[in-house]
């Protein structure tokens, strides 16, 4: 049994050795180097474009942040109405008519 295993293991080793011979080191085709450099350049260009895009996005985001900050910090002149203006606005025409009547009654009584 053990001998059988050894024979099989020997056969397997022989097969591996034969495989090594059947697949020798191989010369690359003439296009190997040009294609390799094309791939390198393509990836380099992709990385460069990605970097540019990322830089553009960062710049835009920074500019937008600055603008928003400025918008929040700078005081706005849509001035709030003063107390008197609020009072004037709140006074309806009816109120003014009432006050005229009240005033005329007051003057007649004197």
């Amino acid at each position: 049994m053990l001998q059988d295993q050894n024979v099989t293991a020997g056969g397997l080793d022989g097969l591996f050795a034969a495989y090594r011979e059947a697949c020798p080191d191989r010369e690359p085709g003439p296009d190997f180097m040009p294609q390799l450099w094309e791939k390198i350049e393509a990836r380099r260009a992709f990385a460069y474009n990605l970097k540019r895009l990322a830089r553009g996005i960062i710049t835009t985001a920074a500019a937008a942040s600055l603008l928003m900050g400025a918008y929040l910090v700078v005081p706005r002149h849509t001035a709030q109405p003063t107390y008197l203006e609020v009072l004037a606005a709140a006074q309806s025409p009816d109120d003014s008519a009432d006050s005229e009547i009240v005033q005329s009654v007051y003057e007649n009584s004197r």
């Binding site: 099989t8 397997l12 097969l15 011979e21 190997f32």
Partner: protein
């Protein structure tokens, strides 16, 4: 080492001419290794280019030129592994799955023009391919590096970054699995021959 360490240092620093020298020195060996690892001659150059592409973009991380070769082997192994994972074994009838008699008949049918030696090599490639497909991609690569490429355990240790004992265990198990398949195919051939 096939190149001067100075060339590796220059390539690491971004010298394209030095990188070219590196590729020219190692491409033949790497393509041969890939051919034996993946067993598909038509895709060997693509995987080889992937290896050198990875080398180009990772060379900056190489600490010392002395470990360049295990580093390159590691890149080769990773690329081959990625390739094998993408192209999981297709369910196709392989020559090694056939009986010896069927193989002889297939050989005869292949015509007489084909060189006898090349046919024998083709059959060996098919047989080893079928045997290796019985184990996982990881084991296949490990076995190929050890049994066919002839890397020592020390070299494999550097390639895999794991200790020798763990490698021995993995190798033993992978070899046992392949041995079982080999025995079965031997029995099949013997049965067909009787």
């Amino acid at each position: 080492m096939l190149v001067d360490p100075e060339v590796i240092i220059r390539a690491r620093e971004g010298d394209d001419a030095a990188f070219n020298l590196l590729v020219q020195a190692y491409r033949k060996r790497i393509l041969g290794t890939i051919a034996r690892l993946i067993g598909r001659p038509e895709d060997v150059e693509d995987v080889g280019q992937e290896v050198f592409l990875r080398l180009y973009y990772s060379l900056g991380q190489l600490r010392s030129p002395e470990i360049f070769e295990p580093w390159l082997y590691r890149l080769t192994v990773n690329s081959a592994y990625d390739y094998l994972r993408r192209h999981r074994r297709r369910r196709e009838a392989r020559m090694a799955d056939l009986s010896e008699q069927q193989v002889v008949m297939a050989d005869a049918a292949a015509g007489t023009k084909v060189d006898q030696d090349e046919r024998r090599r083709g059959r060996i490639r098919e047989m080893v391919g079928a045997l290796m497909s019985a184990v996982s991609e990881k084991d296949r690569i490990l076995l190929t590096l050890k049994e066919i490429e002839g890397l020592s355990l020390k070299e494999l240790e550097k390639v895999y970054g794991v200790n020798e004992n763990a490698l021995k265990v993995r190798l033993f198990r992978a070899r046992q699995r392949v041995l079982k398949v080999f025995e079965a195919s031997e029995r099949k051939s013997a049965g067909a021959g009787v």
